[in-house]
């Protein structure tokens, strides 16, 4: 063996192999070629260990992860509502804030009753067409008290043991008891925000500004008064509609944006819908995701760049 073993395997060759590309050592001995093929096959097998679970296959740990997802989703809606309530409280005396609570709860409750087909209960995921989008703040006790914001026994405890926004919830508790009792604090439901948007749009066309509570909710939800317009466009389902994706804040807007446009967005891969993006996600090992820049890949795996 006069040649240096594996001399062909420089950093470039390594990079090609990691991307799932075949490498032909050139010039190279038959031994070099065999080495390259073995290594390529090895890496293909390795990449294959990371392929997506087939639809009918057991996915270890999935239900625990889904439970964590639901819990975090409830947390998000709590956090948002509590932050908004803190804002309102700064602006108004507590008594007036309680009145806002009552209004929000009532309006939210009425709106929920009228929007058929949506599942407001995060614990009862609906199969298509409705998706499990939470209506923040309207997670009614029917689902097992899952989302009453001030409720320390809520099952939505963050796994790390701290809950966002809870310290504020104790404030409105006593005042909130005079309302329907469904929510101790008023995270504005998506239905409430929708009503706010309608009011905003209507009153804008008449040249009048909506009332302060409405504007506060919209301002917080949209992340700024200048963004209320696009936000409401997205929420009310204007032809563009994509603004719902561009949430200016993470937790604050993730919830309200999610609801009404979701029946069109939800991929619902388990339903086996032909339009499901699951098909692409499900494709050959790792091809769908990382393969963007490596169209020339020959092996069935793409280690990416």
């Amino acid at each position: 063996m006069a040649e240096k073993p594996l001399g062909w395997l420089d950093e470039d060759a390594a990079e090609h192999l990691l991307r799932g590309e075949s490498v032909l050592p050139s010039p190279g001995t038959a031994r070099d070629v065999a080495e390259a093929e073995r290594l390529a096959a090895f890496l293909a097998t390795l990449a294959d260990t990371g392929r997506r679970y087939p639809d009918d296959a057991y996915a270890p740990g999935q239900e625990a992860a889904v439970a964590a997802f639901r819990a975090a989703r409830r947390e998000t809606s709590h956090g948002f509502g509590t932050a908004l309530f803190a804002l309102v409280r700064r602006i108004r005396p507590l008594r007036a804030a309680a009145a806002v609570t009552l209004l929000a709860c009532t309006a939210g409750g009425m709106a929920v009753a009228s929007t058929a087909g949506l599942s407001p209960f995060t614990d009862t995921p609906a199969k298509p067409p409705a998706t499990v989008s939470p209506l923040p703040g309207t997670s009614m006790p029917a689902a097992g008290g899952s989302a009453t914001p001030g409720n320390d026994s809520s099952p939505s405890a963050d796994p790390d043991g701290h809950r966002s926004g809870d310290p504020d919830n104790s404030g409105p508790g006593p005042d909130a008891k005079e309302n329907s009792g469904k929510d101790a604090t008023p995270p504005p439901s998506a239905a409430q925000l929708e009503d706010d948007c309608r009011a905003f749009v209507t009153e804008q066309t008449r040249g009048e500004r909506p009332d302060r509570e409405t504007m506060n909710r919209l301002n917080k939800a949209a992340g700024g008064t200048s963004k209320i317009g696009p936000y409401c466009d997205g929420l009310l389902g204007s032809p563009g509609g994509s603004t719902a994706d561009e949430s200016p804040d993470g937790p604050a807007t993730a919830s309200p944006d999610s609801t009404l446009s979701d029946p069109n967005d939800g991929p619902v891969p388990d339903a086996g819908s032909p339009t499901s993006p699951d098909k692409a996600v499900d494709s050959a090992p790792q091809d769908a995701e990382p393969a963007a820049g490596t169209g020339e890949t020959t092996a069935p795996t793409a280690a990416t760049d």
Binding site: P5, L6, L9, D10, E11, E15, L18, G20, E35, R38, L39, F42, L43, L46, A47, T49, G50, R51, R52, Y53, A59, G61, Q62, A64, A65, V66, A68, F69, R70, A72, T122, S133, D158, P159, D160, G250, P251, A254, S255, S258, D262, D265, G266, P267, P269, D270, A271, P277, D278, K279, A280, V281, Q286, A288, E289, P290, A302, A303, T304, D305
Partner: protein, 192 residues
């Protein structure tokens, strides 16, 4: 990209989309986490990673590539926490009994061969020095590019390329000596 769309839908609260994300990403996470904590603890550590991923999901911004990088970083932190908490070295050359059992349960020859190839693949990776194992699995199993791999490992991109090359050379040597042994054995048996 389908994963990008699924992540965004999941961020909006769509549970079905989250399941799609999990099914696409968890196999990769497990493969990576194994290199740090070994086969026996990989699923526990991966589930800890998903606790954090779901908790921080709303604040994530990015596409599929970025999501894989982000989740890999979380998985790495959970893995290192696990290692420190258990005060033991990473289980390099770790517990392969689960893989063995899976192979034994295969019904068909094809499945058996696949399981054996998988077992051998994971075994070789687990024998690499940890840095090389991480680079190779982050690139190949997590599907990350050099830049993201370097960021997660806190290395320069050049160091990542070097580690990758060394890891592949080592694997190639093992593969060759394995195949050499097989050939020698075959000749020996023929001669008997």
């Amino acid at each position: 990209m389908a994963l990008t769309a699924a992540v965004r839908s999941a961020q909006k609260g769509d549970e079905a989309a989250f399941r799609a994300v999990y099914r696409a990403v968890n196999p990769r996470l497990l493969g990576y986490v194994r290199t740090l904590v070994g086969e026996g603890d990989a699923e526990d550590v991966a589930s800890e990673a998903w606790l954090q991923i779901t908790r921080d999901l709303a604040g994530f911004k990015g596409d599929a590539d970025q999501f894989r990088g982000w989740s890999a970083r979380i998985a790495r932190n959970r893995s290192l926490d696990h290692i420190r908490a258990r005060s033991r070295r990473p289980a390099i050359g770790g517990d392969e009994t689960e893989l063995t059992d899976r192979a034994a349960a295969s019904d068909t020859a094809a499945e058996a061969m696949t399981a054996q190839a998988t077992r051998r693949t994971l075994s070789l990776i687990s024998r690499l020095p940890r840095g090389q194992a991480e680079v190779v699995t982050l690139r190949v199993v997590m599907g990350l590019d050099v830049k993201r791999t370097a960021e997660i490992l806190g290395k320069r991109p050049g160091a990542v390329r070097t580690a990758a090359q060394r890891g592949l050379k080592q694997i190639a040597e093992w593969l060759e000596s394995d195949s050499g042994v097989t050939e020698t054995a075959a000749r020996t048996l023929k001669g008997m």
